[in-house]
């Protein structure tokens, strides 16, 4: 059993398990090449979807290794860690690893990809080769984002994810696709450029503090934890905000959200699904992974701002969603509201809120991804998404209507469907948070939760109002009379999502337990104020004084 020969199956299995993250990143790239090759040699565009589907499915199955075989835990708390020098001149490494925070996000990515591919079965009419290549490259980039532990590598993946999505929207999108794609690009690129500056600044500051510049997240974190490197007030604020801006635009946090409705509405279905399910999570993931751990003091300092913006986003997104005439735009605005909840939970800095936020990222991926798929189904049939063009669809498409209602209920946060658990934990976290001040006249944590809680009411309003107008009543538009109900392919696509909605709603424990230790680690780090090792860093010790003085002199 143990120690099979170099060629034995167990040896190969071990090899796969050991390099699983690299394989997950590279397999789609290889797949993209295969798609290209297939097209060059066989010129059978209709087979490409099969190739792509097979690759994404294989990637999903491989990614399950992460769940079932946790691998060895490194000292830094990461599983399946790989750290290989890449560009030694600037001391950047190919450093990847997965922990509780990123685990489910990687799985979510690999899980949603095959579904996105099947959803395009009949939808891609032009340039299918390029389409599938972009999809696969996008998958690589997204997985890379979630597992990178080197800031420069992270940045590269973060930017790399932008390009395929830019083209997916710009080439295969709807009527205003160019505007949407450019808007998407401008918003996100500006944010991430700032982050690049901050990353470079961190490199030099680390060099300044320890003599060695590094992009390595784990090294940076350790240096910070040991108090060997500190930030002046202005530098800390700059660095925090540079990272935070990049991530907030991605989330998107109010008021940076206006690219999202355009991008979603114009993107092809697969693009919308991936955008909603995975791309937005890169923002919330980044905030939690980098902002909270590298700049805990600043995170606490700026928390009230983010909480206020998150709450505005929740209410605002819901109100605006309510009056949208286009179903897809409505779902897009609902994303703004839902992601507001995620931000709210994270910035409560409580275990409940942060666990809830991580869980809600997954829930949002499943439910909103499903909603976009459903909107895609009807768009393929009618080539319109305007609510006013429909009415009474439940009479002609009962299965579709049923699935739509269940999915909407999950998005509304009905208990025993997934959305509820996340939103509930987030609100418990905010309620019990200590980050907002408690004054003599008002407990702002309570008030914040109460206002955010109205989002739960509005969610019911906009989704049910839309359902009422689209599905119930008599069939008013003759074009809708002959619509075919969902095909087996479409039902098959929805079944895993529906299963997850129910499973994650009634039995969230395995998910929450897997994220528990990583999330509490981050929570402790961000809340370490007085006492503990970090505290020493705050009392101006010799090293800090030196650094501060040093900086001041340098700035003069």
């Amino acid at each position: 059993m143990n120690g099979g020969g170099p060629r034995s199956p167990s040896y190969i299995m071990d090899l796969i398990a050991e390099n699983i993250l690299t394989i997950l990143i590279l397999l789609p790239v290889v797949g993209a090449l295969a798609v290209l090759g297939h097209q060059i040699f066989w010129k059978q565009e209709s087979q490409l979807k099969w190739v792509t589907f097979a690759i994404t499915l294989l990637n999903f199955l491989l990614s399950l290794v992460l769940v079932f075989d946790k691998g060895a835990v490194s000292a830094s708390g990461f599983h399946f860690e790989k750290n290989v020098p890449w560009i030694s001149a600037i001391n950047t490494n190919y450093h990847v690893g997965v922990d509780g925070l990123s685990l489910w996000l990687v799985i979510l990515t690999t899980f949603i990809m095959p579904i996105a591919v099947i959803s395009t079965w009949h939808a891609v009419e032009k340039k299918a080769t390029a389409f599938y290549i972009f999809l696969l490259l996008l998958e690589s980039a997204m997985i890379g984002v979630f597992v990178s532990l080197d800031l420069l590598v992270f940045y590269l993946f973060f930017e790399a994810s932008l390009i395929p999505m830019f083209f997916l929207i710009g080439v295969w999108g709807g009527k205003d696709r160019i505007y949407a794609a450019v808007k998407f690009f401008i918003f996100t690129a500006i944010g991430s450029l700032l982050m690049l500056v901050a990353i470079i600044a961190l490199y030099f500051m680390h060099a300044d503090a320890t003599g060695v510049g590094t992009f390595d997240f784990v090294t940076l974190l350790n240096t910070l934890k040991l108090g060997n490197m500190t930030f002046s007030a202005s530098a800390g604020a700059f660095l925090f905000l540079a990272f935070a801006l990049a991530f907030s635009i991605k989330v998107p946090l109010f008021p940076f959200h206006t690219w999202l409705p355009d991008a979603h509405t114009e993107a092809p279905t697969a693009g919308s699904v991936i955008l909603a399910a995975v791309l937005l999570k890169m923002g919330t993931y980044g905030l939690m992974r980098f902002n909270f751990t590298l700049f805990p003091d600043q995170a606490r300092e700026f928390a009230p701002l983010f909480i206020v913006l998150a709450i505005i986003g929740i209410v605002y997104g819901a109100l605006v969603a309510m009056v949208q005439p286009d179903v897809k735009r409505l779902v897009a605005y609902s994303s703004v509201a839902h992601m507001g909840f995620v931000i709210l939970g994270m910035f409560s800095f409580t275990e409940w809120g942060m666990q809830g936020a991580v869980y809600q990222m997954l829930n949002h991926g499943v439910s909103t991804g499903a909603l976009f798929l459903l909107v895609g189904f009807i768009y393929e049939r009618r080539h319109t998404r305007m609510i006013s063009d429909f009415g009474g669809l439940a009479n002609v498409m009962p299965i579709y209507a049923t699935i739509f209602v269940i999915t909407a209920m999950s998005s509304v946060g009905l208990p025993f469907l997934n959305g509820f658990v996340g939103e509930f934990l987030i609100m418990v976290g905010m309620w019990k948070s200590t980050i907002l001040s408690v004054t003599a006249t008002a407990n702002w944590n309570y008030i914040a939760t109460m206002v955010a809680g109205t989002g739960v009411i509005f969610a019911a309003v906009y989704l049910l109002w839309m359902i009422q107008r689209v599905f119930f009543g008599k069939v008013t538009n003759d074009k809708n009379r002959g619509l075919a109900d969902l095909s087996y392919r479409e039902i098959g696509l929805m079944v895993p999502l529906l299963f997850l909605m129910v499973f994650m709603g009634v039995y969230p424990r395995p998910f929450l337990e897997a994220t528990h230790s990583s999330v509490t680690e981050i929570q402790k780090r961000v809340m370490q104020r007085a006492g503990g090792e970090i505290d020493h860093a705050h009392v101006p010790g010799p090293s800090e004084e030196k650094t501060e003085a040093h900086l001041e002199i340098q700035q003069k």
């Binding site: 500006i190 700032l194 208990p415």
Partner: protein, 750 residues
Amino acid sequence: MTENNLLSLIIFAPLAGAVINWLVGGKLKNETFSGLVACGAIAVSTIVAFMLAFGIGTPHAGALYADKPVLDHIWTWISVGGFRADFALGMDRLSGIYALFVTFVGLLIHIFATGYMHGDKGFYRFFAYLNLFMFAMLTLVLADNFLLMFVGWEGVGLCSYLLIGYYLKRDEAREAAKKAFVMNRIGDWGVLMAIFLIFTLTGSISFFDKVVDGEQVQSVFTFVTQNMSADPFTWGAIFAGGLTSVAVLLFIGATGKSAQIPLLTWLPDAMAGPTPVSALIHAATMVTAGVYLVVRANAIYQFAPTAMWIVAVIGAATALFAATIAIAQNDIKKVLAYSTVSQLGFMFLAAGVGAFVVAIFHVMTHAFFKALLFLGSGSVIHGMHHEQDMRRMGNLKKYMPVTFFTMAMGWLAICGIPIWAGFFSKDEILYRTFAADNYFPVSDFPGNKVLWAVATLTAVLTAIYMTRMMIMTFWGKERFHEPLPEEGHLLDAASAEEHAFAHGEGHGHEEAHAAAADDDDEHHHELPPDFKPHESPWVMTVPLIILAFLSTVGGLVGIPYAMSSLVGAGEVNVFEHTLDPVIAKKGEHDGHSAPSASGENEVKHFYASAPAVPGAYDPHSPEVIQKERLLALLSVVLALAGIGIGFALFRNNPLRKMPKILEQKWKVDEFYNGYIVDPLTSLSREGLWKGFDLGFIDGIVNGIGSFVKELGDIARRVQVGFVRSYAAVIMLGAIVVLGYFIYYGFKLVN
């Protein structure tokens, strides 16, 4: 702690029924199969509920007699950082009584529905929803913690939504379904916030003390009674984040679920659903969930005098308000709907004055007689080929004797005629309100007497409108073919909707007939000239008879001592005796001192002298008996007077014109639409979306974009595509920004 895994069967049997009907019933499309599965599932629940409640064939004492609840831990649902919510059930005396009448009345209504829904295309779908509702309702009732109760709470809301909107093609049905869900959600917000606050205050959300996974879990109520003291009676207490805040937030939830002011307008609209649904959900079970919540949390309410006051006032106000509307409605189901709202008001009044047990007593008797009245109206509607407007009925007692006779029992019960069930519970509420003398601890104003007067007036009105309904339906001459009075002058939206509803279809009958080909709808067609109403089949009349029997004798389990001693019997109030342990006892550790001089002490003992606490209220003292008998006599006289007035007013003139404002329901809907819904919608559309998003933010973005593009156009020599030019601009901008920040970054570190 008593464990019994049978308990989960009560909730899972209906769930299984729903799944089977959905998956298999949908394929078979066989009414016998669907009906048997659905009724069988509820029958299982009913049998198990009776076994556990009375201890029949169980190793432990029945939940109704035992000191400890019967528990069943199924799995740990959420457990994060000290917050634990189990999927666990508990049957104590309170949930035991609820489970009994919910399953039993539910079973009768299921059986009735097999007859009522006969021939409906969506038969299997209907019963799947109905079973799903039973699952949610029983989860609500049997949950052993606030969060699982909330699951049921939302679940019944969902099923209510699905069942109100069951007739997919009816415009008013889908509108009503949405309205019901949204109004319930507003209430749910209150429950959610209350749960957060409860967890913050007590560190638990469990209803019962128990041990799970080797961990001792303390009940919220034990914690409250042992470690906390009563809030003062002040308005500030509502916002103080203490028990009063919890109580008020919970009550917001209760107003949503139980259709109290201000969230009452969804319930009458909900009558767009099939009539068995109205009977089951919107009369007997779901709408009483608010009362259940308040009584379940009575330990909290007793420490929150301000909240108690609010509950009582809202209850009394709703009772009167809804009764005034009921008197002017022409749709038989609307009358009953407003009557339900009014009766729910009575229940909250009882809870608000501290008579929690009486509130539950009224919940139970009301479940019997209101389910009966609704099913009776269903039978009438069935016999009248889906005519719901009472102006086109009359003299039905000739054609539907069983329905008439059973409904008459319900009528006598709701009017409060002695020995019928409603008499005992309603009279007890009136008396306890009258006796709650220390009700306004901050002033000498006899507030409880005002509430009593309001409730008494409502009782008279109840007798009047119920009599009107009975006369219009069963007496007088036959008006089956008479055209309805012209109502074209009612132009406002809600009345138009109402009008359309009265006709049974949105846009007149021609269109209805046009659509009749693919119609699975319960709506009224023009009756043939030789039309004769018919009595309903036995599956419908047998449940009516059983419910009529219960409406007649069901009150006998709760006869107060003042009554039973009249005929020489002793203490026979089994109901009160059973539920008494559920009510938290405040005074017990502190003794029942009379209001003392010290103000703080007075607050603490406030409820020690209120009737909620046995000891202070001694039903055996001669003066109490005397007063109670006198008041009972008064309410009997008034009920008879109400019936008399009803006959005098309507016997010869059943179509008497009622005040228009009452017919239009005080225009509450118009008020909500005009002052809340419409402004919010236009703010969202014009202000937020078009103004801020598209105007302001995108304006800035596009402005920058076109400005840079202008620059680019000037600088650019080569012809490039739109995208590429943008890309170039972005690159340019990026380089500038990047350059600046790299410069800044270097400055920072160098």
